[in-house]
Subunit: 133 residues, 2 copies
DNA sequence: CTTGCATCTGTAGTCGCTACAGATGGTAGG
DNA sequence: CCTACCATCTGTAGCGACTACAGATGCAAG
């Protein structure tokens, strides 16, 4: 009998919004620890829920899994970890800003192309011609 | 003897800024046609250069390779293709705008986190705490 | 003759999942 | 008691778009 203070993987999935397959994947690659089992079934306690929530939040900010690993260690370790955490966040922020700039450029060009195409002249598609140069 | 009007893959790579391995990859998956060979060596003519340039430009706008395939067909076909091309560009634009919004949100949160961390209080890292919730 | 260069083929790795196939066990309904 | 369904299990393969080898080949220059 599993203690009522632990939950099966399906409920962890519901609580965190994280796909079951993804949870098992995280376990496989060592992002989540191998959980206690009752029979064949994984059971998670509140620490497990907290850990996966942490991972999800970090992933939503775009941190790669390797960085998430480090962030988890820092969060556990406490103490001197603030500097390192800030560095990772800054680098991630720079990354995000760079990607946004890329998307800005794409959006501008795509907008122009769509417009050019809309103002269609006889000869051919301005959009396709622009891609053909 | 290869005619001087054709170029080897290395020069195609230099001309288009596309990695040699990527060119061969495009050939393998049918984005680029199997080129003429002199001996073992691929040779490309100006049509080949134009085609790969088209692909690169489309990729820079974020079009997935499957869409690029279609765009290539449309560009070849000419004629009635403008509508379809515009639809693809519009859908790609919507995609880019959605992704940009995601990045905006991430940047905002990351910025806050970095700042919170900078204003470091004694107890612990505000950044890591925010991730831990 | 050796060194270096460009090219070749084929395969496997990257990242972060996602999607199966096929097994297992428990509960609920007929 | 049998069947159906449900959640879970393991293991493997696929996605997209490359990238990175390893190991072979052939040619030209020093």
């Amino acid at each position: 009998m599993a203690p009522s203070s632990t939950i099966p993987i399906g409920e962890l999935s519901r609580l965190t919004g994280c796909n079951i397959e993804t949870i098992r994947y995280y376990e496989r690659i060592g992002i989540l620890p191998v959980p206690v089992r009752y029979g064949r079934f994984r059971r998670y306690d509140s620490a497990g829920v907290r850990r996966l929530s942490f991972v999800r939040r970090a992933r939503e900010l775009g941190f790669p899994l390797d960085t998430v690993r480090t962030l988890l260690l820092l969060a556990e370790g406490g103490g001197q970890s603030c500097d390192q955490a800030r560095q990772m966040a800054e680098s991630q922020l720079a990354d995000v800003i760079a990607k946004r700039a890329d998307l800005d450029r794409m959006a501008a060009v795509l907008g122009d192309l769509v417009e050019a195409c809309g103002a269609g002249d006889a000869g051919g598609c301005a959009l396709l011609e622009a891609l053909s140069d």
